[in-house]
Every structure is written in structure tokens, then in C-alpha cells.
């Protein structure tokens, strides 16, 4: 029976179906392997984030000497540099991974990427920030990415101890921050679902291709004595054969696209190419699981067909979908709604709160889709006066499940894209409003955490000698601030930087909000402080604000000078642009991912749609042919086919977009207290373009209509 199944699977008639299923499976397997390799890479990358978890509470080896440890960030031309200053208090101090020994005072190890940067960047812009000389390269065990910029600097214990928030540790972190890996794995799961779902639909649709002819063949076999079990075996063998071919092709596809996948900075950082890899469990699971799953899908696809020896006795018309199908969607939306005002405290809690809601809504859209399709079809049928509208509406209302199945891939892609775009647009609108169009955004702002009252005398002179650096404002804590602005500044300094506002006439010290560079304060007159000018020097420094001419070189030179003057501060001087950098880069990454989902899903969903339309035509070739012979114009039949696909597509796409916007609104409200801002024109263009592509795919099947409704189809017998 298996041999017969194989022979049938590669027969002439079955070859088209075989190719379709194999292509669908290959795409699915390729994507699945890519996602699994991505998850593995994320986990490996996450493991090396463990070093960030180093703290005084990190368990160490018994008898280890404490190590003074200060971990800070530095910035160079919009790139973050991970900086660790350390000093051993004894010979048994722990050594971080990736370096052979602890650097002594005046020595440092750098990552390969930073070594390359130090070799090319002018010392005044970068190298002068790091005391000592390079003694080696940090190895991969301490680096999350080949592009990672990192430096481990050896200092004396006193020097490190002076750095704000430095601490003594006896062990180096070995566990990645839990929220990081959990969140990324869950996000990968959502992304994977968005990508894989259209492929599964495609496989299911391709399996049903030319089902009528295949079922006739099965009926003929039943007539000569084949049992239902044997028929199921043959169907399963046919599907499995295609799936095995597709799985092999899928592994090849993964191999070919491996470098491209490895190059996607999914976590914001490039992966080591060899870490985007499959483990043996992945390989065995996919290689065995996919053909087995395909056999089950084939069995499932035949479930509605009762094949008797006299043929397919009856195509069981599915019961109309009922309103209970809305329950899952409603539960998902309600789940998100619940968290408005009940936002979980921790990152893990938030991920656990929102992602199930998202997954529920995605599942809910798939479950409720046929109900929406039926609703639209019934409305259309009620109002239809034209034959095309009537025929298509009746067919849709008859089997909305089948109509929706073909478009469900597009629907999920639209939903994911809508949520991502809605969230990103709203966050940018809320957080970006204070930074747009402000010239001062290239000025450096340096928090001073150490509580010092001293500003090194050489700072002003050094800045004056630095090309591109402007005047410096020293913002100090106002001990009497209360509800007023928390910092004070000398009016003489403020007068040199008119863009930050001005003092009242005759004032010597003004109360100011410290984030002077975050908005245009040109017209602001700051209130006079009661603190006398000569009292300023005794107040702790809150922050420095240094103007630059906005060029990257000037910013970096100025940063180097400020860091040199305040070597023990925890936070580096950064510009407003850099403050937004990580946020913008993350958002850009998500936006790219959302676009990738829709761009990858669309062609696959389009293929499903085309196969489903062609299958529907094939099933109705005789009544359509006879209608044509009776004088019905081809355009009427074309309109029938177009409406059958376009109505559910447009209707359920609208539902998906609305659900996406509602989901985004609920998430934004719950997590950030924002109200959804409508997506911009580029989003609507993407959606419109997607629908046009899908409609074009439907259009591409219409020439088939003319071919299969020729007079020969109408001949009796």
C-alpha cells in the first residue's frame, strides 16, 4: 500500500500538488529552522549578558579575594561602549571570562571591535578616556556580539572605590537577566507564529488542491476493494512523500539563508554567525516531525469526505459558525483591558501579562474569522441584486471556513503589523514631542552622582581649548527647592547660552529645571533663586551642561574632556540624541520586524489564496462552463470569483486592523498610560499595497477561468 501511495504521489496528475506541497513545506521548514536557530543564538547571547549581573551579592568561590568592580557605559558616535573598571585586592580575585588575567593598574583589555575603533579614532575623541595601555583582546566568552564595544580597565583599588556605585565582588555573574531571555523568546514565538501560520495554511490549502479528482481516484480504488484505512494510508504516504521532499529542500533553504539570518540584529546586536545554529534535537525534531505532521494534516483534510465505493458520497457542508467563536478574541481583549491600572511591577510580570493576551487575540482572530466572513456574506446576499454578488455571497455563506482559511495568513500578518505600528507611532509621538526641532539636542549633559561640590578648575580652560565646545553650565542642587525647580545656576553662565533661557533682570542665581536641553527654552525667564552667588560653590554639583557645535568630532572631544575632569562619575556625558538612541534603535528594530512579517507573509498568503481560488474554480468547472455556454459572459464569472475572495479579504482585514489598533491602545494604556495615536500614511500605504498585492494574486488566477470553462467541460459523460 505504501509503494502504491508512493507511485501515486509521483504520478503525472499528482505532480503539481506534490510540487506545491513541497514548496510550502520547504518554506515552512526553512522558517522554522531559522526561528529555532535564532532562539538558540538569543539564548547563547543572553548567557553572556550574565557578566552584567555581577554585583556584591553574586556568589563567588570560597576564599576568593574581593575585586573592586565598576561597570559603566560610555558612548562614542552613537555607539555604546561597555566599560568595566576593576582592581584586585589580592591574588585570588575572580577573573572575568574572556581575559586570561586581571589587568593591572595602567592596563586594559578591549574587544576586537573597540580595538579597531581605538586604532582609527583620534585619541582626543576616544583613546584619551582610558588610562593606561592595551594588553590584550577580550575573548568571545565576555562578548554578546562580534560588534560589541567593550573595555576592561585595571585600576588601583582606591581609584575604583572612588567611582560612584562601585562595589566589591567575589564572583562574576553567570546567569543572564531572566527577563531578557524570557521576553525575547516570547517575542520570537509571536514573530514565529506570524511567519509560520501563513505557511501552515499554504500547506493545508495545497493538500486540498485538486481534491475532487483525487477523491474520484480514491473512490475507484474503494470500488475494487480498498478499505478506508488503506485509502487513509495512501493519502498519508502521498502527503508525507511531499513533506519529506519539502523538508530536505527546507534544510537547504535554511543553509542558503543562514548568513542572512545570522546578520539580522534581532536583539539589537549582531550574532556570532556560528552561534545561529541548530542543535541535534532541533534537527531530529524537524526532520521527523514535519513529515508526520504533514501526514496528520492530510488525514485531517480528508475528514469531511466520506469516500464510498460509488464515489464521494457527500461533501459534508460544515455547520455555520456560531457567535461563540468571538469568545477567544473577547477573552484576549479583556485580558489586556484588565491590566489597565493593574500594570505588573516587574518586567517578567509585564511580559507574562501582555504576551498571552496578544497570542489569545491572534488565536481569536483565526477562530472568529469565519464568523465575520459569514456575517459579511449574509449581508451581501441580502442586498445582492446582481448574479455575481448573489452567487459569491451564497458560496461564502455556505462555507465561510474555507473562504477565511485562504486569507487567514494575511489577516494575522496585518494584525501583527498594525499592533507594532500603532505602539511605535504612539511612543514616538509621546516621547519625541519634546525633542523635535531643538538645536540644543547635540549638547552634552553629564550627571554628577558623586555629590562633589568641586568643578576642576582646568575644565573651563580645557573646554575653551577644545574645538567645537561651547560654554559650560554648572547645575547645582538647590537645598531649598521644595516644589520648585530642583537646580540652580549662575546667571553669568546662563547668559552665555541664550538657548536655555535667561535670568530676571539683575538676578545672579536662577532656579532652573535641569533638563534645559530637552526643549526650546529661548523665551523662558527663570525665577531668581534666594541663594547668593557666593553660596553656589558650596552646593553639590547636580550636572554639567556643555554646548557643542553639533558635529560628532566636537561632541566626542568635549565628552573626552568632561570624562577626564570627572573620572569617577557613573554616567557618561550624553547628548539628548544619544539619550533617545537606544529607544529609537529598538523601535526601528521592531518596525523592521513588523514589516518583515508582512512582507514575508504576503507572498505565502498570496500563494494560498491563488491555490484556494484555483481549487474553487476546479470544483465548479461544470456549472460555470454550462453557465458560460448559456450565454453568461466571462466577466460575470470573473466577478463571482473576485468577489468570493475580495469580500472576506477586505472584511476580515478590516477586522484585523481594528483589532490591532484596539490591542495597541489597550497595551499602551496599560503599560505607559498613552492614548493611541493613529498610524501615519506609510502604514496605510503598506496595508493598501498588501491588499492590492493580494487582489492581484486573485486576479492572476482569472485566466484559468476561461480555460477551464470551455465547451469540452460541458459535454455529457
Amino acid at each position: 500500500m505504501i509503494r502504491l501511495g508512493l507511485r501515486l504521489a509521483i504520478g503525472r496528475e499528482a505532480i503539481l500538488r506534490l510540487v506545491m506541497i513541497a514548496v510550502a513545506v520547504a518554506l515552512g521548514v526553512g522558517m522554522l529552522l531559522g526561528i529555532l536557530a535564532g532562539i538558540n543564538a538569543v539564548q547563547k547571547q543572553g548567557d553572556r549578558y550574565a557578566i552584567i549581573n555581577t554585583s556584591a551579592t553574586t556568589p563567588g568561590k570560597p576564599g576568593a579575594d574581593p575585586l573592586w568592580w565598576s561597570q559603566r557605559l560610555d558612548v562614542y558616535r552613537n555607539q555604546v561602549i561597555e566599560r568595566v573598571d576593576l582592581a584586585a585586592t589580592g591574588p585570588n580575585a575572580p577573573v572575568p571570562p574572556g581575559i586570561p588575567r586581571l589587568p593591572g593598574p595602567g592596563e586594559y583589555y578591549v574587544s576586537p571591535a573597540l580595538a579597531a575603533l581605538l586604532a582609527t579614532a583620534p585619541a582626543g575623541q576616544l583613546g584619551d578616556r582610558y588610562p593606561g595601555h592595551q594588553v590584550g583582546i577580550i575573548g568571545r566568552p565576555a562578548l554578546t556580539s562580534p560588534d560589541r564595544l567593550a573595555i576592561i580597565i585595571g585600576r588601583t583599588p582606591d581609584e575604583v572605590a572612588a567611582i560612584a556605585m562601585a562595589e566589591k565582588v567575589t564572583g562574576i555573574g553567570t546567569e543572564a537577566p531572566e527577563v531578557w531571555t524570557l521576553a525575547l523568546t516570547l517575542i520570537l514565538a509571536v514573530t514565529g507564529m506570524g511567519l509560520l501560520f501563513p505557511v501552515l495554511i499554504f500547506i493545508g490549502t495545497a493538500t486540498r488542491l485538486a481534491a475532487t479528482r483525487r477523491e474520484q481516484r480514491f473512490a475507484a480504488m474503494r470500488l475494487v476493494g480498498a478499505t478506508p484505512r488503506q485509502i487513509s494510508t495512501i493519502a498519508a504516504v502521498e502527503a508525507s512523500f511531499a513533506a519529506i521532499v519539502g523538508t530536505v529542500l527546507g534544510f537547504g533553504l535554511y543553509r542558503l539563508s543562514h548568513d542572512w539570518i545570522a546578520g539580522i540584529p534581532f536583539t539589537g546586536e549582531a550574532f556570532y554567525s556560528d552561534e545561529v545554529a541548530l542543535n541535534s534535537l532541533d534537527v531530529i525534531g524537524v526532520a521527523l516531525g514535519v513529515p508526520v505532521a504533514a501526514a496528520l494534516v492530510a488525514r485531517f483534510a480528508l475528514r469531511r469526505v466520506r469516500i464510498s465505493p460509488l464515489g464521494v458520497s457527500r461533501q459534508v457542508t460544515p455547520k455555520p459558525p456560531r457567535a461563540w467563536r468571538l469568545v477567544v478574541l473577547a477573552v484576549g481583549l479583556a485580558e489586556l483591558f484588565y491590566f489597565i491600572g493593574n500594570k505588573p511591577e516587574t518586567g517578567i510580570g509585564q511580559a507574562a501579562a501582555y504576551l498571552p493576551g496578544l497570542l489569545l487575540i491572534m488565536a481569536g482572530l483565526v477562530v472568529a474569522g469565519p464568523w465575520f466572513t459569514m456575517l459579511g456574506a449574509r449581508l451581501l446576499a441580502r442586498r445582492a441584486n446582481r448574479p455575481a454578488a448573489l452567487i459569491s455571497a451564497r458560496r461564502l455563506a455556505d462555507n465561510p471556513q474555507a473562504a477565511f482559511r485562504a486569507i487567514s495568513g494575511v489577516v494575522l500578518a496585518l494584525f501583527v503589523t498594525t499592533v507594532a505600528t500603532g505602539v511605535i507611532t504612539t511612543i514616538v509621538a509621546n516621547r519625541g514631542s519634546h525633542i523635535e526641532g531643538v538645536r540644543t539636542h547635540a549638547d552634552l549633559f553629564a550627571y554628577v552622582d558623586s555629590g562633589t561640590t568641586e568643578v576642576p578648575a582646568r575644565l573651563t580652560a580645557d573646554l575653551a581649548a577644545t574645538q567645537g565646545a561651547g560654554p559650560v553650565l554648572v547645575l547645582r542642587h538647590d537645598p531649598d527647592a521644595g516644589l520648585r525647580a530642583p537646580t540652580v545656576v549662575a546667571c553669568a553662565e546662563l547668559a552665555r547660552a541664550a538657548v536655555y533661557g535667561r535670568c530676571e533682570d539683575g538676578a545672579q542665581v536662577a532656579s532652573v529645571w535641569p533638563a534645559l536641553d530637552w526643549q526650546d527654552n529661548r523665551s523662558v525667564v527663570w525665577p531668581t533663586s534666594s541663594i547668593p552667588l557666593d553660596g553656589l560653590a558650596g552646593l553639590p554639583v547636580y550636572a554639567l551642561l556643555v554646548q557643542t557645535d553639533g558635529t560628532s568630532a566636537a561632541v566626542e572631544r568635549t565628552r573626552t574632556v568632561v570624562l577626564g575632569a570627572f573620572p569617577s562619575e557613573r554616567n557618561p556625558p550624553i547628548t539628548g540624541n544619544e539619550h533617545e538612541l537606544e529607544f529609537v534603535s529598538t523601535l526601528t528594530g521592531w518596525k523592521r520586524l513588523a514589516t518583515l512579517i508582512i512582507l514575508a507573509s504576503l507572498p505565502i498568503a498570496g500563494c494560498s489564496l491563488a491555490v484556494a481560488v484555483a481549487g474553487g474554480l476546479s470544483d465548479r468547472r461544470r456549472p460555470f462552463s454550462l453557465l458560460r455556454l448559456s450565454g453568461v459572459q466571462l466577466r460575470v464569472l470573473r466577478r463571482v470569483v473576485a468577489l468570493e475572495s475580495a469580500v472576506p479579504l477586505v472584511l476580515v482585514a478590516a477586522v484585523a486592523i481594528v483589532a490591532g489598533l484596539v490591542t495597541a491602545e489597550l497595551f499602551l494604556e496599560a503599560q505607559m498610560g498613552y492614548t493611541l495615536v493613529a498610524p501615519h500614511a506609510d502604514f496605510w500605504l503598506l496595508i493598501g499595497g498588501s491588499l492590492v498585492v493580494a487582489l492581484a494574486v486573485i486576479g492572476s488566477t482569472l485566466p484559468l477561468l476561461e480555460r477551464i470553462t470551455g465547451p469540452e467541460t460541458a459535454r455529457n459523460g
Binding site: 441584486n385 452567487i391 451564497r394 455556454l629 455529457n716 459523460g717
Partner: protein
Amino acid sequence: MTPIIEARDVVLSFGETPALRGASLAAERGEILAIMGPSGSGKTTLLHCLAGILVPASGEIRFDGQRVDTLNEARRSTLRRERFGFVFQFGQLIPELTAEENVAMPLLLAGVRRAPALARARPWFERLDIAGLEGRRSGELSGGQAQRVALARAMVGEPEVLFADEPTGSLDSLTGEQVMNLLVASAQEQGTTVVLVTHEARVAAYADRDVTVRDGKVFAPAPERVAS
């Protein structure tokens, strides 16, 4: 008297295989004409030529004195839609539509709005003895009921010529007779010409006249006709 439909010396081949080799035939207005012949003789091809579905390689097809074979596809479609009716052996109903919507289809195609089209379709159910089946789909009808619905659909537009290709071929003899009785009665009532293709003598017996097609040529009268 001018025949309403006529084929003159019609020749048509499918690739290398000749189907019609100079077939000629004419039917008068209101006449019921049976075309008989064995399988593969060319009788269905001749019907398709007469109906303007196929265009002969040579020869002429005329309807009401006008050439049909020289019309383009669009005009032939219009002719079929507006002046002809068709009944086939099986599978002609649109499965998604109810019986009355199927019957109303030619009227909807002619631009009649839905409510009046359905109103004109309904009396045919009484007339063809299938009252009560208006709301059923084709899958819920027996073969005889489905053929009667198909007949109603063919007649609702009051065609001048009804082409019937083995209309009882998938029915048992009793049901086939019922359908033929109704077909003949309806045609006579409306003065419709019927061109009937069949290989069964007892079906051909309902015709006023019959011809036989053999090897792509028309012979009249049919030599194997059995008098009813």
C-alpha cells in the same frame, strides 16, 4: 416557411479528428426536433454549433435567417443568453444557490432586479410540479427534481429555441418520461422550438421529427427510430 435555426454543410474538426463533415439540418419555429446517433457521432458537436457555442470551420449556421457563425463571441453570448435556453444532462445548477435563485438566474443576468426575478421564477415550480422546493439547494434535490429546476431555468426567459442535450440521460425511465412530458408541454405552450440530442429512441419519440447523425453527417429520418 423559413426555418428558425439551420445548419448548412457544417464542417468541424477537433485537431486531426473530424467531428462534422458537411452536416445540414433545419428546424421550424415551434418544432421539436430530435438529433439521434451513437456515441461519438457528432450530435452534441452539431448542437453546440447550432447554439453558437462552437464555430464551424466551414458551412453556415443561421438563426431566424441571420448568420450566427460570423458573429463574434460576445454577440453569440448575447444571443444564447437572450434567445436560447439550455438543458443538459446533469450538473447545471449552481450548488450554492437555492432552486428559485437558480431559476431566476437568466433574469438576473438580463438585469431584472432580484425581487421581480424571483417573482417570475416562482410560478414555474407549480407548473413543473416541484412546488415547495423553491428554497432547496441542488444537493437537496433528486435527479428528476434538479432536471425540472434546470428546465424551469431554461424556460423562464421565454427562449425561442431550447437546446436539450441528453436531458434525461441521468434519470430513471419513469422520471425521464415525466421530465420529457413537462419539457414538451412547456415548449408547446410557449411556442418554443426544441432541439433535442439523445441516443434513446423513447426520448426521441417525444419529437415531431428526428434525424440521425452518423460519422459527422445528418441522415433523415432516423433509420433506427422505434415508433412510440
